[in-house]
Symmetry: C2
Subunit: 243 residues, 2 copies
Amino acid sequence: MTGAKDFLYPEKWLSKASSGDRVAYELRMRIISGMIESGAILSENKLAADFEVSRSPIREALKILASENLIRLERMGAVVIGLKEKEIEEIYDVRLMIESFVFERLVRMDTRELAIELSKILEMMKVAIKYQDADEFSYQDVLFHETIIRYVDHSYILMIWNNLKPVMESFILLSMRMRFEEKYEDFTRIINNHELYIDAIRTKDRNLMIKSLHQNFDDVQGKVEDLWSSQQMLSKGAEQQDD
Amino acid sequence: MTGAKDFLYPEKWLSKASSGDRVAYELRMRIISGMIESGAILSENKLAADFEVSRSPIREALKILASENLIRLERMGAVVIGLKEKEIEEIYDVRLMIESFVFERLVRMDTRELAIELSKILEMMKVAIKYQDADEFSYQDVLFHETIIRYVDHSYILMIWNNLKPVMESFILLSMRMRFEEKYEDFTRIINNHELYIDAIRTKDRNLMIKSLHQNFDDVQGKVEDLWSSQQMLSKGAEQQDD
DNA sequence: TCAAGTATACTTGTATACAAGTATTATAAT
DNA sequence: ATTATAATACTTGTATACAAGTATACTTGA
């Protein structure tokens, strides 16, 4: 099995994860990166052999990926669905939906504390850019949105987020790794946009928030076409794996 | 273990379900009905003994319930969260959110076919009322909303629904069982409201749709207070288990 | 009586074993 | 050559076994 030991998912993020979770994280990356193509059929036994674990954690992982709509569990093997443009758009639909919902709650709350917290995360993102740490940047980016969502304390919205987060995280990770190599100028725009978002939260400006959300979508999705074509982005995002 | 063999979930709905799914369905009912109180700690071994299966399906079930926010998996035992008023409100928040989203898609589609399909389901509901079949009524009620959601063909919205559905189904099941005994007059109102919903879809009337959605919420949630108090509804909903 | 340490009875996570079912392939008959 | 049947190599779902870790209770010492 050549290259079976090169993991796409940052290993330091897996410090206390179970074997099943590790497999899920890694498989997710491979599916989203296109390394495992959509339509492929995954066998529990083969995966167990590949990852050198028993079927128990593999089954766990497959259940997780199925709940994230990345694979479809059938009577004979798991069929890879993957992330095509349609799915990415749909994910952003949902993100727009839940963040809009969250914003409606935020406008009735004291958001000063949140704004401070978000500013801190934004600083972290800037540092990550400075040191060209794509993984750290992605982590903070995801954390940014999670922080907003958690702030309203809504367990079922959080449930949705929890289902969406791993896929988003993997996608962002791959996307950012590529852009650090090829589209470095993107990041000033991303940072600006996040600043806009914080302003929207601080001033409770609904339109500004929607604007920045849409812009964020364009930032990631609008550019996807050229990134995505023939899955180049993915091999690009996949090959780099620093410290 | 007295009464361990009385299942709350309709067994005929479990014809080809795996053992793990069965356990999940049943545990879900017991948690939502209050038969298992929130705060209780579930042990895999005890559950395995109770349900007379091995730990494998139990673990599977617990993972499912955790993803539905009904329990919290901790290092030592699974802690029951349950459905209190807050959670029920939150579930309806999410339902309102996704059905609103779906409606926005529907207004750009040809909804005639859907309206017909919904009318059929409504007829089924009427029959279920006539024959006082609470379980069948609940099934059709859930199907009604699922049919609407599936019609727009959005895999990530469907993903949310799939996470929400089992909890909603159980809740509706328990609620309807009780009402067939005590609040029979509720059903004409529920039927009327669903007719309103179909009209909204047919005429693509956004306001009408929101109105009927809110009304539906009031129908289930607004009355919850008295149903819910001291979990009486639940034992009521639990005891009846026909044919 | 109280503190410290040890023993015990839990817990989860993973590996392995087995049963039942399904697709595929090979063989045999027409 | 083609179809029917049988053998084989898969598949999943479940049970069981074991290892490592954690809380509880108990014992021992002061």
